[in-house]
């Protein structure tokens, strides 16, 4: 048993070992994916509606939303890094069973509602290609369920992300139509208010679709899972903020593109994917519809695969039930039950005959709006807990912004609830 002297060079086919690249793929990533998943079917619909109806007038709202989203996402990333615990774990430990039960019920209902909107997005995309939603939606549901439960998720995620990269074409489209950049700047910097219920509804929808609780739950879970340390927090923060910027930039350009095309042509109301696709005509010409549909499909599937999983995971974490895809169905029946249930309910509700897409989306954001303040307040109380966060508790500036965000959201949500209860708008 002597040592062998022969040495061979390391084979080149080995996995990527470059440290910088690993950091990029490891720490950089969760924030970008969580934020990009926010540009989902409902997001694209809402941004298109905003651009078509009001041109560049609502761009200022996106500046506000960007700020709020950045603060909220950063808070979650920080809590994950400092405590090493998931969001629902913290909620349960700090607030007890009753509060947790309320929060989790709200999260479940809200996420199920948003899942409905994702399958509605699949339906809209498939009908562009002449495929009935009664075929495409069950297929998509089965596909999503299978891909996540059978474990090839990471590959699927890349595929969906690649599909939603179609929305990069909005950037090109914008530069091809050469919008009036002065008007764009005015819209982004000078807030305009209108005593118009639809205007208010669209503003609320913009917030509701961009800041969804599942994004916070999934971001914190991934950060905890990767074991990101305090010393790596600046990297994680850079990733989070980069993701937020990217997500908002996409939203911005969708609004500009639709504003410069649909709004300019006098189409103020987006009824279908066909119409929304007109914004891509400058670049794709006759194929604009198909291109738009592909992107919509990717964005919908990406969110539809993250949403049910995040919800099932968060609920099981809060109540201490076995969870995670490494468990078998027998070991974690509640986890898989919830996961499957949300997909089935989401797909079925999207198939109710005669219910228009827009109504479904609006309903989803009504419910989402209901939950958001609950989770936001809980998050703020956690991030301010010195016993938990130590020196990394929220500072005064962050608190002023964060509480400001929460209060604005609560007021807007209240307005939305009142107005939809009275049946105004939609």
């Amino acid at each position: 048993m002597t040592a062998h002297s022969e040495r061979r060079p390391l084979p080149l086919v080995r996995r990527i070992k470059n440290k910088r690249l690993m950091l990029l793929l490891g720490i950089i990533g969760p924030g970008v994916i969580a934020a990009l998943a926010g540009d989902d079917a409902g997001g694209i619909g809402t941004y298109s509606t905003a651009g078509a109806a009001y041109g560049y007038d609502l761009l200022w709202a996106m500046v506000f939303v960007a700020l709020a989203l950045a603060i909220v996402q950063d808070m979650c990333a920080r809590m994950g890094v400092v405590t090493g615990k998931g969001l629902s774990d913290l909620i349960r430990e700090q607030f007890g069973v009753k509060t947790t039960a309320v929060a989790m019920l709200a999260l479940l209902v809200s996420n199920a509602a948003v899942t409905v909107s994702e399958f509605a997005g699949v339906a809209a995309a498939s009908e562009v290609f002449g495929i009935s939603r009664y075929i495409s939606v069950p297929l998509a549901a089965a596909f999503v369920w299978f891909i996540v439960a059978r474990g090839s998720y990471s590959r699927a995620e890349k595929f969906f992300l690649a599909l939603s990269l179609v929305f990069v074409t909005y950037f090109i489209s914008v530069f091809m139509v050469k919008p009036d950049w002065m008007a764009v700047a005015r819209g982004a910097l000078i807030p305009t208010f209108r005593a118009d219920v639809k205007y208010l509804l669209v503003v609320i929808a913009l917030i509701g679709t961009t800041i969804s609780p599942y994004m916070q739950f999934s971001l914190q879970a991934i950060i905890v899972d990767k074991g990101t340390k305090i010393s790596e927090y600046s990297l994680a923060r850079a990733d989070t903020l980069f993701g937020v910027m990217l997500s908002i930039l996409v939203a911005f350009f969708i609004i500009i593109a639709t504003g410069a095309t649909l709004h300019a042509r006098g189409i103020f109301d987006v009824q279908s994917a066909d119409q929304a696709a007109l914004a891509l005509e400058p670049i794709a010409g006759a194929f604009a519809k198909e291109l738009f549909a592909l992107g919509l499909l990717g964005a919908s599937l990406l969110a539809a695969s993250i949403l049910p999983l995040t919800s099932a995971y968060a609920v099981c974490e809060a109540f201490g039930w076995e969870r995670g895809l490494q468990q078998s169905w027998d070991d974690a029946p509640i986890f898989y039950g919830l996961y499957t249930g949300i997909i089935i309910v989401g797909a079925l509700l999207a198939l109710i005959p005669g219910v228009p897409l827009f109504t479904l989306l609006l309903l989803a954001y009504d419910v989402n709006g209901l939950l958001l303040p609950i989770i936001l307040i809980l998050m703020l109380r956690l991030a301010n807990n010195k016993r938990l966060m130590g020196q990394h508790a929220n500072g005064r500036v962050a608190n002023i912004f964060a509480y400001g965000t929460a209060i604005v959201l609560i007021v807007l949500t209240a307005l939305l609830l009142v107005s939809s209860a009275l049946g105004i708008g939609a």
Binding site: M1, T2, A3, H4, E6, R7, R8, P9, L10, P11, V13, R14, R15, K17, N18, K19, M22, G84, D89, R92, E93, G96, V97, K98, A101, V148, G151, S152, Y153, S154, E157, S218, A221, I222, V224, D225, K226, G227, K229, I306, L309, T310, Y313, F319, G320, E322, G324, L325, Q326
Partner: protein, 418 residues
């Protein structure tokens, strides 16, 4: 018997019957000599005061009834020494380790019971019944279940089977003691339920050999994440204790810089052994093999071979000594003889006479799928790996080969959430 969730908020009165306040928390002390920690004091919320008042538990009070009556004079207070566990603050709703079932569970409620004259913490409720009780729905749910002639499912674990996760407010040695008694495979099962940071804290106090054995049960990717939390020196000590093939897999998951740092801190022999394995691609026989096997030279008798084995340090470290390989000074593989052949042969028989002269062997470059196929086709416990010149490089054992296929088939490597 009483559940903590039903005690919190009750009125507390002194021995004269005067109201002191409402119960905020219960303090227990965990004693090495006792299985169940004893109740020592009550934290009572007094109106218009921020800090709860600590009342010593006399021993002959009772939790029956809606009021708690303290049998001590009203002015007495309990002086905490810092080692107490505050049940609501430190345990309720927290995650703990169920060392019996090797998993992480969440505390839904805590059950106090009378042992002799003392109240002690006896059981931890981790089931749905505890959740329903906390929501105030236990009775309703029970009636509902009865109408279907079913019992409400209840899951409680004994306090003696509970261990703390690191990072809480409690610093007790119980965690270490209880973990140390578990089999490495069981510890690994617990670690899979927590993130790499918590996992590292859990095993930090175990000795290096135990840590190494535990890590070997986990996916190399997770192993590397856990070792990220250790200093280079400690990581090197742990890697030294691992089987070289597992160590090589682990080091392969690290970035180049850390790998070099750890290798440079390792013992010279261990380092050489691991580095030798590192050059092979993971999906080949070379990547799968271990260098810990036993050899004897040709031309000696069975008795001499046995004596060599008995004296050899390599035999003690080898993954298997069931196959003894016959190699010359150039490491050329002449044959293989099984331990049973050696034992059963007459002592003066030459090894060359009883060995298999054309053993099944594989090239270091052979794809691991083909290695598996050979092992299973010939029912081998291990197969020797040779280089292009027929020199013995290592062996692939059946259990290492099995490990390769079992998890990857249907338990794809995924982070906990996705």
């Amino acid at each position: 018997m009483a559940y903590l969730s039903e005690l919190i908020g009750r009125e507390v009165r002194d021995n004269k019957g005067a109201l002191i306040g409402t119960l905020q928390d219960v303090l227990i002390v965990s004693d090495e000599r006792m299985i169940y920690p004893r109740l020592v004091a009550l934290a009572v919320r007094v109106p218009r005061q921020n800090v709860p008042r600590l009342l010593p538990w006399g021993g002959n009070e009772d939790f029956a009834g809606v009021k708690i009556k303290i049998q001590k004079p009203p002015q007495s207070t309990y002086a905490p020494h810092g080692g107490e566990i505050w049940l609501t603050r430190d345990l309720m709703d927290k995650q703990v380790i169920d060392t019996n079932d090797h998993r992480i569970v969440r505390v839904n409620d805590l059950e106090l019971g009378k042992i002799g004259t003392d109240y002690s913490l006896i059981n931890v409720d981790i089931g749905g019944r505890g959740l329903l009780r906390r929501l105030g729905m236990e009775d309703a749910a029970e009636r509902f279940a009865r109408s279907f002639r079913r019992e409400l499912p209840s899951r409680e674990i004994a306090w003696s089977d509970v261990s703390f996760l690191p990072g809480g407010n409690i610093r007790l040695n119980v965690t270490r003691k209880q973990l140390n008694e578990l089999h490495p495979a069981d510890i690994a099962e617990i670690l899979e339920d927590v993130g790499p940071r918590v996992a590292a804290e859990l095993i930090r106090s175990l000795d290096n050999e135990k840590v190494a054995d535990t890590l070997e049960e986990l996916e190399p990717e997770f192993q590397a994440e856990v070792l990220e939390e250790f200093s280079d020196e400690r990581a090197a000590d742990i890697v030294e204790e691992m089987q070289p093939d597992d160590a090589a897999d682990l080091l392969n998951e690290m970035d180049e810089e850390r790998r070099e740092d750890i290798l440079n801190l390792m013992d010279k022999d261990d380092k050489a052994e691991v580095e030798e394995l590192l050059v092979h691609a993971e999906d080949t026989a070379g990547g799968l093999m271990t260098t810990r096997y036993v050899t004897v030279p040709p031309g000696i008798t069975a008795a001499e071979a046995m004596r060599l084995l008995r004296q050899s340090a390599a035999a003690r470290e080898a993954e298997t000594i069931y196959y003894v390989y016959v190699t010359d000074a150039d490491e050329l593989l002449h044959g293989v003889v099984s331990l049973s052949d050696l034992v059963l042969a007459e002592p003066d028989t030459l090894v060359d006479e009883i060995m298999h002269q054309h053993p099944v062997k594989v090239d270091v470059q052979l794809d691991r799928g083909d290695v598996l196929e050979l092992i299973s086709r010939y029912d081998l416990l291990a197969v020797p790996v040779v280089d292009a010149n027929g020199r013995l490089q290592g062996i692939v054992t059946a259990d290492d080969a099995l490990e390769m296929i079992l998890p990857e088939e249907w338990k794809v490597k995924l982070p906990r959430l996705f």
